[in-house]
C-alpha cells in the first residue's frame, strides 16, 4: 500500500487525497483559512505551508537511496508547498510546523501579513471565540506586530442583503463566500471587487445578497467580515451551549446545531452530514430558532365560557379524559402530525389504540413547487415519512374535512391546520377540539383544551426526512421540568462547567411549562389506570423498533453513530412484502 511520511511517522493510504485534508483526517493540524472541503481549492491564503519532499529511489536497484548515515535521502521541493492543493503521493515526506522551523516561520510570517490590515477589534467582533484567524494567530502567529504604518480602510457595516452584514476591513480575501455563491448556491450574487489590498467581497451595485442560503457565508467566513444581521451582538459564543438537532422547517432534515444561552435558542447553524446537507442549510431553517423561544404555550389552556384561560396540568388531564370518556370512540378523531416526531405520533397512536380509537390520520404539508432541489423541499414538515411508516392514514384536504365533520371530539397533534388553510373555523363548529402544540396560533386559539408540548429543542425525538432517513434531536433547552445539571444528555457550556451562579444566571421565564407528548399521554393513561409508561424518546424508539417493521433495528445509539439511518421507504417496504 502507498505510504506517506508526515512528521516522521508513516501512514498508509488508499485512493486520492489532498495533503491538508489527509492531515486533518488523521486528527492532526495544519492551519488554514481559504480551504473548504466542499468547495474548489484556490490556495490563496497561503497559510497551510508545509515542507514536502520525496524519497529518492535508486533507479537500478529500485531501493531507497541512502546517505552516509544510512538515512533515506529526500529530494525536497525547492519551495514550501501549500498542503491544501497538493496530492498525497507514495513516498512523500512531509514536515509540518510540528517538526520544521522553516514551516513554523512561514506560517508565522503569513499570519503577520494577514493581520497588518486586519482591525484588532476582537473584543467587539462577533466572530471572536470561534474565529479561525484568532485561533491560528494564538497558536502560530507572531507575538507582536512590526506594522507601524497606516492600515487600509474599507467599507464597514455594509448590509449586503437582508441577513448578512459585511465589514470589509476584517476580510482576509479567502473567497470562501464568493465561491459559495458560485459553486454551492449558484446564485453568483457575490464577487470580489477592486484589486490588491483594496479587495473585498460585494454584490453588484443595486442588488441584494438575498440568496436563500446566504447565511452559510457567515458560517464559513474565517473572520468576522460577514456576520448575521439577526445574531449580531446578541451573544459571545463562549456563553452559549451548542446542541445537535434537526431542522424541522422542511422535509430535508438538515442537521443543525442549536446555540442556547439561558434557555433561549439564539441561533441555528448547520452541522455537517455528508448524506443530507453537507455543511449547509437554508436561511429559512435558521429563522426557526424563534419558534423555540417566542409565542410559546406555557401551561395548559382551557376554554371557559368561550374564553381560553390558564389551567393546571391536573385539570387539563382530567378534562382530556372526561372528553374521551364522554365521546363514542367512533366519533373521536385523532390527527397525527408530519410536524411532530415519530415518538410523539407513536405515543398518541398507542394511546388511542388502547382506547379503541381509530388509528390516527394525518395531512401532509406539501407545497408543490416550493422546493429548490437542493436543501429546501416541497415538503414543509420534517416527518411526513415518519407518519407514513407508522401506518397513519394519509388524508387530503377534502377527506380530512369529511373526517372532521363526522367527529365530535378531535385530538390534534402539533399541526396548525387552520393556519395552513386545511380546516376552517366552520369545520370545527360544535366540536370539542384538543390541541397539543408548542406555539400559539389561530388553530390553538380555537381549541377547547390546549396542551403545551415540548419543541424539537426540548426533547430527544426522531424525524424521518423526505429521503426516508431517520435522524434525531437532543434536548437543547430546559423546560420547567428538566434540569441541565441532572440530565446527562444535555450539553454543558463553558459557563455551566466553570461559571459560578453569578456568571450563569438562569431566567425562569425562559423555561417553558410544557411536557413531552409522551409524558402527557402517560399521565393521562395513568389517570385512567392504563398500563402505559412512555418515559423518553430513547425508550419509545426501542419499543417502536421492536413492534413496527419499518423501524426494525433502529435505536438512538445507531442513529448517533451513523448520523441517521436510511429506512426503507413505504414503497420499498410494500415491494419487499410482495416479493
Amino acid at each position: 500500500m502507498p505510504e506517506v511520511i508526515i512528521d516522521g511517522k508513516s501512514y498508509n493510504y488508499e485512493g486520492k487525497h489532498k495533503l491538508l485534508q489527509f492531515i486533518q483526517d488523521l486528527g492532526k493540524e495544519v492551519p488554514f483559512f481559504c480551504y473548504h472541503p466542499s468547495m474548489s481549492i484556490p490556495a490563496n491564503c497561503r497559510q497551510c505551508m508545509v515542507k514536502v519532499g520525496q524519497y529518492v529511489i535508486d533507479r537500478e536497484s529500485g531501493n531507497h537511496e541512502l546517505d552516509d548515515k544510512g538515512d533515506k535521502v529526500v529530494r525536497w521541493f525547492p519551495k514550501l508547498q501549500t498542503a491544501c492543493n497538493i496530492d498525497v503521493a507514495d513516498g512523500m515526506v512531509v514536515h509540518t510546523q510540528e517538526t520544521d522551523e522553516l514551516v513554523r516561520r512561514a506560517q508565522k510570517d503569513n499570519l503577520e501579513l494577514i493581520l497588518i490590515n486586519h482591525p484588532l477589534d476582537c473584543p467587539i467582533c462577533d466572530q471572536a471565540g470561534e474565529c479561525p484567524l484568532q485561533i491560528q494567530t494564538y497558536k502560530y502567529g507572531p507575538e507582536g506586530s512590526r506594522f507601524e504604518v497606516k492600515k487600509v480602510h474599507k467599507p464597514k457595516r455594509i448590509q449586503l442583503g437582508p441577513r448578512v452584514v459585511l465589514d470589509a476591513e476584517r476580510c482576509i480575501n479567502c473567497t470562501r463566500c464568493t465561491r459559495f455563491t458560485e459553486e454551492i448556491s449558484k446564485t453568483n450574487q457575490l464577487t470580489i471587487t477592486r484589486r490588491g489590498d483594496k479587495n473585498y467581497p460585494i454584490t453588484a451595485p443595486g442588488t441584494e445578497f438575498d440568496d436563500l442560503y446566504s447565511l452559510n457565508t457567515v458560517d464559513i467566513c474565517p473572520v468576522g467580515a460577514l456576520t448575521s444581521t439577526d445574531f449580531r451582538f446578541k451573544a459571545r459564543v463562549w456563553e452559549m451551549n451548542q446542541t445537535p438537532g434537526i431542522d424541522i422547517t422542511n422535509g430535508k432534515g438538515c442537521n443543525i446545531d442549536l446555540w442556547t444561552r439561558d434557555n433561549l435558542v439564539l441561533r441555528i447553524t448547520p452541522r455537517y452530514n455528508k448524506d443530507v446537507n453537507d455543511h449547509w442549510m437554508p436561511d429559512s431553517g435558521r429563522e426557526a430558532y424563534k419558534l423555540f423561544n417566542e409565542n410559546r404555550i406555557s401551561r395548559p389552556l382551557q376554554k371557559l365560557d368561550g374564553e381560553q384561560i390558564l389551567s393546571s396540568w391536573n385539570n387539563a388531564i382530567a378534562t382530556f379524559n372526561e372528553q374521551i370518556d364522554g365521546t363514542d370512540s367512533k366519533n373521536t378523531l385523532v390527527i397525527g402530525s408530519p410536524h411532530a416526531s415519530v415518538e410523539e405520533n407513536y405515543s398518541l397512536a398507542k394511546f388511542s389504540n388502547l382506547l379503541g380509537i381509530k388509528q390516527p390520520v394525518f395531512v401532509p404539508h406539501i407545497v408543490e413547487g416550493s422546493g429548490d432541489g437542493f436543501l429546501i423541499s416541497d415538503d414543509q414538515a420534517p416527518n411526513t415519512n415518519g407518519c407514513r411508516l407508522l401506518g397513519f392514514t394519509e388524508l387530503d384536504v377534502k377527506s380530512i374535512k369529511n373526517a372532521v365533520k363526522k367527529a365530535s371530539l378531535i385530538i390534534l397533534l402539533s399541526d396548525h391546520l387552520l393556519d395552513r388553510g386545511v380546516l376552517s373555523e366552520k369545520d370545527l363548529d360544535g366540536k370539542f377540539l384538543v390541541v397539543l402544540a408548542t406555539n400559539h396560533s389561530h388553530t390553538t386559539k380555537l381549541a377547547d383544551l390546549v396542551i403545551p408540548v415540548t419543541t424539537a429543542a426540548e426533547h430527544a425525538a426522531s424525524y424521518v426526512n423526505v429521503d426516508s432517513r431517520i435522524q434525531r434531536t437532543f434536548r437543547a433547552k430546559e423546560t420547567k421540568y428538566t434540569n441541565r445539571r441532572l440530565d446527562l444528555e444535555m450539553s454543558e457550556g463553558r459557563l455551566d462547567r466553570y461559571g459560578t451562579n453569578f456568571d450563569n444566571w438562569v431566567t425562569e421565564e425562559n423555561k417553558i411549562d410544557c411536557l413531552p407528548v409522551w409524558r402527557f399521554i402517560t399521565q393521562a393513561a395513568s389517570a385512567r389506570g392504563l398500563d402505559m409508561v412512555l418515559t423518553e424518546g430513547r425508550q419509545i424508539m426501542e419499543e417502536i423498533a421492536s413492534s413496527l417493521e419499518p423501524f426494525k433495528g433502529v435505536n438512538y445509539q445507531l442513529m448517533d453513530e451513523h448520523a441517521g439511518i436510511l429506512l426503507k421507504t413505504e414503497t420499498e417496504l410494500k415491494e419487499s412484502v410482495k416479493q
Partner: protein, 176 residues
C-alpha cells in the same frame, strides 16, 4: 438614463461571442464596446452588459472593478493618463503630472469643473523609451512631453481635436 446598445453594437457582440466557446470570455470585449458607446461602464452599464450576455451582474461588476481602464463612473471629455512609472519618473513624469495639476487646477484623480479633463497618474504604459508621456482617453499616446508640448496638447483638445498617432521609428533604421 437608460442605457441601450445599438443594433450595430449587438451585431458586433454576436460576432465577438462567436470567437469563444463560451459566453463569459466576451465580458472584457463587451465592456469595451459599452465604454466606447457610453463613455464609461458605471453600474447601470455593467448591468446592461450582464443582461446582454446573460451573465451574473456580480461577475461583470467584479471584472469591471479589476481592470483600471474601465471607467466605473463618468469621466471628463478627455482623460489624461500621465505615466509616472520608473522610466517616466526618471525622465520627469512627475513634473509633467504636477504641471498639468497646476494648469488644470485639479489634483490627480479629479475632473475639471467644466467636465473637459480628468487627470490621472497611471502605471507603466509601455512607452519607456519615449518618456515622459501620457495617454489620452485610452487611445493615443503623446510622447516626449515637455511643458510646451503639454500646453499645445491642452489647447488642441480644448478645440475638440484629438492628437494623431505619433510614429516613433527604430533608431537603428533609416526606413522605419
Amino acid at each position: 438614463m437608460a442605457y441601450e446598445f445599438t443594433k450595430e453594437d449587438l451585431k458586433q457582440i454576436e460576432e465577438i461571442k462567436s470567437r469563444y466557446p463560451e459566453v463569459m470570455p466576451a465580458t472584457l470585449p463587451v465592456l469595451w464596446i459599452a465604454q466606447n458607446r457610453f463613455g464609461h461602464v458605471n453600474p447601470e452599464v455593467q448591468k446592461l452588459v450582464a443582461h446582454t450576455l446573460g451573465l451574473p451582474q456580480a461577475h461583470v461588476h467584479g471584472v469591471a472593478e479589476f481592470y483600471t481602464q474601465y471607467y466605473k463612473e463618468e469621466k471628463g471629455k478627455y482623460v489624461l493618463d500621465v505615466c509616472t512609472c520608473l522610466s517616466c519618473q526618471l525622465c520627469g513624469g512627475y513634473d509633467i503630472l504636477h504641471y498639468l495639476e497646476d494648469k488644470l487646477g485639479i489634483k490627480k484623480g479629479e475632473t475639471t469643473q467644466d467636465g473637459m479633463f480628468t487627470l490621472n497618474e497611471v502605471e507603466c504604459l509601455g512607452a519607456c523609451g519615449y518618456a515622459p508621456m501620457l495617454q489620452v482617453t485610452n487611445d493615443q499616446y503623446v510622447n516626449h512631453l515637455t511643458k510646451e508640448k503639454v500646453d499645445k496638447l491642452v489647447e488642441t483638445l480644448k478645440k475638440g481635436e484629438t492628437p494623431g498617432y505619433e510614429k516613433i521609428g527604430m533608431p537603428q533604421h533609416e526606413n522605419i
